[in-house]
Structures are given as C-alpha cells and as structure tokens.
C-alpha cells in the first residue's frame, strides 16, 4: 500500500473542512488502496462522527445516519418491520464481518467489482484512468452490465443495499462547503456515458450525513430477490427489489429496481408503468419484466443476464404480491 496521512474528524464541520478522502468502514477503499487502484495522499476518518443513529421522522419515514453499519441497519427492528426489502438486501450482500464494518453512507459509494477496473495491470480503464479505453468490452463479460452501458464502460454497480434504497425512493442528505442539500437517490448516480470516472452527484468536500426513506405504502409487499453463482457471499448476477401495493387483485402502486445488471442501481419506471393498475398476474409480471429489459445491450459473455434478470423480476413480483 502507498504511504498516506490520516486524521480523525471530530465533527461534521471539521470533516468537511479537512482536505482528504473520507474513510469509514474501509471495506472498499482499503481493498482498492491495496490493489493500487486508489492512492489518496490523505484520509479523513469519519467513523467517530455522531451519525450512527436510526430515527423515525414526524412524517413517518426513517432517517438513517451515514455511519450506521450495514449489520445494525439490517437488524434494526423498524427496518425489519417496515422496510423488509432493505433488511433482506443488506443481508444478501457480503459477509457478516464486512457488514459489521461497512456503513450506510459508504455502501452508497461502493465501487464496481469489474476485474479490469480492479487490476492496474490493465492499462485500459476509463473509470480508473479517463481516456484510456475499456478492457472489459473486449474481455470477459460474465459479470458486466447490460443496462446503462456506454462504449466507454460496461462495469456493473455491485451494491445490494442501493437497489433496495432505489425501490424505497431514498433521499441522500449531503453537507459540504456550500451548505446542506438533499438529492433523491434516483438523481444521485450518473450513467457512465463518456465520463465513467464520474459516478455520482457528490462534489468536492461534500459528505453524506444521512439517508432518509419515506414511509412505505400501507400494506405493501416487499421482496429482495438475488440470484448468484453461490448461495452466499457472492455478488449478484441479477437481483430485484420490489415494493408493491395490491388492492382487490390489482396493483395499485409498485416500485421496481434491479441489481447486478446495471451500471448504476437500476430503477425501472418502464416496468412500474407496465404493471400499475393491472391485475397481479403472471402475464403482467412478464410484461413488466420485458419492459424493464427492453433497452438491454448485452455482450457475448453476458447475454444470459437479460433473460435471468427478467425471470428474477417476474419471480420477485409474484413473491411481493402473493
């Protein structure tokens, strides 16, 4: 690992004023520093900031501190009771040890597992070194994305938690040198386009302080379904987060997000439109799944993901509306 300095931030204000990259759980950053993918000269340790609470808000929603560990969030009684899709998604990811380390804010910024991005031995990676090309497009595609790709990057967003946050329409609270602002998670992640190295809406010096999730629709069914090569401790080939409200056999409202297939956690408004107001039946689930993958652009090695993702979503819809 390269040499760097580190300081512990005593307050949010001091953290924002410090010059250096924020480090919390370190499960992504320390790993990437060991690989030589990230080489920040200075780190700011934010793990002691008073941002580790989960609170209910007057409007019925939940406010989650950025330093709440993944394990604590997944096991929180309010999350299990009212946001089971979030608990399920977190528990489907990583290992117990990593979930004890990883934080809510950090998971929002998890970097891709694209093997070409993670190995500086490959010179061509537009995400790691802008303008150098993309080794993945000419390489092995099995784990790569089929939605939101560009000719400059096909790396998959790896998080499970973020997929559930998409379906729950979370808001991200940010504090920075210019003050506080709130960004809807749907506006937080950028598509790779011609600038795959720009991944989100955060600006220099800005810190994620909280995540807020609104009260879910009354009586909504929630499911996170993850398909992968192993039953545990493996990244998704395809996953789906569904929050559905069914009345008298009809889908009154539904929120759908996909994981393992997109360059960002993938909200599918198309699938939601195809199902809203329709009967909660296999035919409409299939139609929603078709709509979700309509614009998929698979490569030779990951064409299977298109059908796998469709079936994953159709099955998750069936489970959430049962």
């Amino acid at each position: 690992m390269h040499s760097f300095t580190i300081e512990r931030a005593p307050s949010v204000e001091k953290a924002i004023g410090a010059s250096g990259k924020f480090i919390a759980g370190g499960t992504t950053l320390v790993d990437l520093m060991k690989l030589g993918v990230e080489e920040p000269p200075a780190l700011v340790d934010i793990t002691r900031l008073p941002l580790a609470d989960v609170e209910t808000m007057p409007n019925g929603g939940l406010r989650i501190g950025a330093m709440v560990r993944n394990s604590a969030l997944a096991q929180h009684s309010l999350v299990i009771e009212r946001y089971p899709v979030l608990s399920q998604a977190i528990l489907a990811g990583a290992s117990p040890q990593l979930r004890n380390m990883a934080t809510t804010g950090g998971n929002l910024l998890q970097r891709t597992r694209c093997p070409y991005f993670r190995d500086p031995g490959y010179e061509n990676c537009n995400k790691r070194s802008p303008g150098t090309g993309c080794a993945a497009i000419d390489g092995h595609h099995r784990m790569m994305a089929v939605l939101g790709t560009s000719e400059h990057c096909i790396a998959t967003h790896p998080s499970d938690m973020c997929v559930a946050m998409m379906a729950l329409e979370a808001s991200i609270l940010i504090e920075g040198p210019k003050g506080k602002r709130t960004v809807a998670i749907g506006d937080f992640y950028k598509l790779p386009g011609t600038t795959p190295h720009l991944e989100n809406a955060l600006e220099t010096g800005e810190l994620i302080t909280h995540v807020e999730i609104p009260e879910p629709a009354r009586g909504s069914g929630q499911v996170y379904l993850k398909l992968r090569d192993r039953a545990s401790y493996e990244f998704a080939l395809a996953s789906a987060a569904v929050v559905a409200q069914v009345e008298a056999g009809r889908v009154r409202s539904v929120k759908i997000a996909l994981g393992g297939v997109g360059t960002r956690p993938w909200r599918s408004h198309e699938a939601e439109a195809a199902l809203t107001g329709k009967a909660a039946s296999p035919a409409y689930f299939k139609a929603a799944a078709e709509a979700a993958l309509k614009d998929a652009k698979p490569h030779e090695g990951n064409a299977f993901k298109v059908e796998l993702s469709r079936r994953c979503l159709a099955r998750a819809l069936k489970m959430a509306t049962a």
């Binding site: 690992m1 320390v30 340790d45 793990t47 117990p96």
Partner: protein, 226 residues
C-alpha cells in the same frame, strides 16, 4: 487458538535447540510455524544450502520494520484487555499487520489480505471484522479481541473445545478466524438451522473443506443438536 499457543512455546524452545523439545513437537502438536523454524535451526546446524533459508518467510524483525515510521502518529491499541503502546505507526499499517508483526500475536492469520477469506477475523468492540481491511490507527481506543484473548491451554473457550472435539479443521490455517467468527455468532440473531449457521459463517473460507464439522461444533456450543 490453544494449539498455536502451545506451539508458539515450542517455537521458543526450539530456538534453544534441546532434543527433548523437538521430540515433543513432532510427537505432539506441530504447527507450520514451529516446523519451518525447526527446519531453519536444523539447516543451520547441518550447514544445508543457503537457498533453503532464503525460501523461509521473512523473520519477524525484518517484517516489523515495514510498520515503523518516524513520521507516523503515536498509537495505543487495547488488545485482549492489555494496552499496547505502538509508538509511531504508519497510517497504512492494517490491524492485522500490527497484531502479527508488532505485537507478535500471530494467532490471527493473513489469508487473502482483501477481506474475502476471513482468516484475519478479530472482534472490535465485540463485533467480528476483517482485520486485514481495518487500519490500525482507526481502531485506537477500541476493544480488540483476538484468538489469544478468548481462551488458553487448560482453559479453552467452549468454541475452541468444540472445534477440537468435532475435528473442525484439517490444516488449521483458517481455524482461528473460524473460531472468532463462531464466537461472535453466538451473540448475533442467527436462526437455529445448520443452513442458518452456514450463512452466518459464509465469511470464513476453509479450503480443506471442514465445513460439516465446523457447523457441528458451532451447533454444539449453541446447544442445538442435529
């Protein structure tokens, strides 16, 4: 774990080169560490090829120098109830390397060094974590527990005893990490079935494939019989 504790003592004994101690090690509990060290001593005595020595792992002092840097901050770690003043410690030193190379608590193992295998599992404030992805300076002041802190020869932790009873290992390299995970699991909301235990232990890889025996050991300590 206890086996390593015992063999660490044999390592010290081997350094003195008494035949009795060497015999005890071979007849009893011989770790890779004491085997390699013993080999080194034998090679020196026999005047064997220097190549054999060159292939041995770096001696502890040489490795420790990597972690020393006058530019680093002064760091105090609280490990197994004892305070250790590490003096100046570079920010890039992981908790795993600090434990092994500075404190010589070598029960915690380095496997993948990327948070994928679980061999480095320790507890920080009672929670199991991967010490290879933890920067030591970031856990200064926290309560750190390693395999050396949960039991000792003659007074094994129930989980250590269960691993011995059920043969929950073969080569033993992953074992201290497995046991630290298993001990932490006892306080976590884990379901009752073997399948639940397998999921809860997913962060610890055993290349020898001792998984059925590990699950049996964990279930015994939890008071759940098959």
């Amino acid at each position: 774990m206890a086996v390593n504790e015992t063999t660490e003592r044999h390592l010290a004994d081997l350094g003195q080169g008494t035949e009795k101690n060497v015999g005890d090690s071979i007849g009893g509990r011989l770790s890779r560490r004491s085997f390699l060290s013993g080999l080194g001593v034998t090679s020196l005595v026999a005047g064997a090829s220097p190549l054999a020595l060159a292939e041995l792992p770096a001696p502890i002092d040489a490795a420790a120098s990597l972690a020393e840097d006058s530019a680093g901050a002064t760091v105090t770690l609280l490990v197994n109830g004892k305070k250790y003043d590490l003096g100046a410690l570079e920010a890039r030193v992981t908790l795993l390397d600090a434990l092994r190379e500075r404190l010589h608590l070598t029960g915690t193992k380095k496997g993948c060094d990327h948070g994928q295998c679980g061999a480095c599992t320790v507890h920080v404030n009672g929670q199991r974590v991967n010490s290879c992805l933890t920067l030591a300076v970031m856990v200064a002041g926290d309560e750190i527990t390693t395999i050396e802190g949960i039991g000792e020869p003659g007074n094994l932790h129930a989980m250590q005893a269960a691993f011995v009873e059920h043969d929950g290992y073969q080569c033993g390299y992953c074992t201290s990490g497995q046991i630290m995970s298993a001990v932490a699991l006892l306080k976590e909301p884990v379901g009752k079935t073997d399948e639940d235990v397998r999921h809860a232990m997913a962060g610890n890889i055993c290349r020898c494939g001792a998984y059925p025996n590990i699950v049996a050991a964990v279930q015994q300590v939890r008071g759940i019989t098959a």
